[in-house]
Structure formats: structure tokens, C-alpha cells
């Protein structure tokens, strides 16, 4: 496993994740997303066809970063960086987002809020390497 127990915990604690993809001109595109793990994969749901989805279809390299809220022994904030490769799965976004919304918004929240959401896409980012500051760097 690339994601050890501490990394799994950081990624499954309903902390917002910064997801970075690569634009056609080589610059970086960043958005803040909800996520959870499935083994060494990170799952992110997206209702529309935004820039990050187009980017990942062209270049699957993705980086996900999360701040845990803990500090290390010299007072610096822990954070986890996951470098991975994404596959874009069509459909399934409303179900994944509803599942994630329980943790991110509240146990009784209905999300997406609209009655008939589009199927969207699920981004499955397979972790290849981790970085940052914390107990996943061993």
C-alpha cells in the first residue's frame, strides 16, 4: 500500500482536499474537492465536465493535498501530498457526493440539492507516491 494507515485516516476524515491537475499549456489547475479512499485510490465526484475532468482525460497526473489539523513536534502543520494517476469513470457522481456529504456537510444533508442531478464523473486517482509532513513519510 502506498497510503499507510495515517494517510488513509487523513483522507477519510472529511477534510477538504486540494486537487491539482495540469492545463494544456502546462500550468496548474487547482480545485478544492471532497474525497475518500478506496484502497490506494482516491475517489472524487464531479457533476459537470469542468476543466479538471478535461485535463485528467488528456494528462492523468493528479496531485491531492490535505491538511490534517495536527502539528508535528516543532509546531509545523502536518499535511499529506498524494501523487497519482487518474482514470475518469462516467456516471456515479451523485451517489458518491451524497455519501461524502454526510461527512462534509452533515449527517442528514441531501446532496446534490437538485432533484435530478446529472450522472457526472468519478475521478479515481491511484496513489503512486506520497509527500508532505507527517507519519506517512516513513
Amino acid at each position: 500500500m502506498v497510503l499507510n494507515e495515517a494517510a488513509q485516516a487523513a483522507l477519510n476524515s472529511s477534510k477538504l482536499v486540494h486537487l491539482t491537475t495540469i492545463n494544456p499549456d502546462g500550468s496548474t489547475q487547482v480545485s478544492v474537492v471532497w474525497a475518500k479512499t478506496d484502497g490506494d485510490d482516491l475517489l472524487v465526484g464531479h457533476l459537470g465536465g469542468g476543466q479538471k475532468v478535461r485535463n485528467l482525460k488528456r494528462d492523468p497526473r493528479a496531485t491531492a493535498t490535505v491538511i490534517t489539523g495536527h502539528r508535528n513536534e516543532i509546531g509545523l502543520d502536518e499535511y499529506l501530498v498524494v501523487h497519482g494517476m487518474a482514470t475518469v469513470e462516467e456516471g456515479g457522481a451523485p451517489e458518491l457526493l451524497q455519501d461524502l456529504a454526510h461527512g462534509y456537510l452533515g449527517p442528514d444533508v441531501k446532496f446534490p440539492p437538485m432533484p435530478d442531478p446529472p450522472p457526472g464523473t468519478v475521478l479515481r486517482i491511484t496513489a503512486h507516491r506520497v509527500g508532505g509532513v507527517g507519519p506517512w513519510m516513513e
Copy 2:
């Protein structure tokens, strides 16, 4: 000004900033840093000569992202993305980090903690465009 009042507030509230640079192979490098603004510039101090400094000397494109802790009217978390171009200034890092540490660690903290820190570098990232979710998207 690219950074309006709300963006300035988000960047000067001692929230951790995710800084993204571009590796030689075109992949993204992310680290979590302290920052504050100087007009439309974002200032980040770095004691060593890490990968992000080497990257920015080669390719100045940088992206900085911060989560404000506020939510918009449908409950989604606000976040600010700043796309900019960095210049790397030699020296000045200990003074900048000490200034930032008052907000990030505590009013009385001495940082860097060592007696004789290296001069390091200051990354000055001039904002060219903002993105994200929040009152800077007008």
C-alpha cells in the same frame, strides 16, 4: 488590483496556503506554506533551497490556494486560487517567517527556532488571475 479586499483578507488571515509549482517533467509539486500579501504580491519565505525554489527559478508559474473557512449560500466551502508569476529574492526569509509566525503559531513564538538561521529566499508571487469559490470572483 487583481486581489480585491476579500482576497486580501483571505490571504492575510494566517490560513495555510497550498503552493503549487511545476516540476521539470511537467508534473506538479505542492507544499503547504505561510504567506501574506504585499499589494498584489504574495510573499512566502523559505529557509532552504527546496524543490519549489528550484522549480520557480526555472518556470515562474505558481498557484496559491487557500480555504477561508466560510461557506457560500448553498453550503459549499469558499476557497481562493491565485495564479501568478514568482520571482525568487535571495535572503530575507528569517525576518519574513518570524513576522508570519506571530499569526500562524502564536504572538510570542520565536521562529525559526534555531539561533542562526540561513538567509534563505523570499518567493514573491505576483497575482495575475484569481479563481475558486468566493467574493473574489466578480
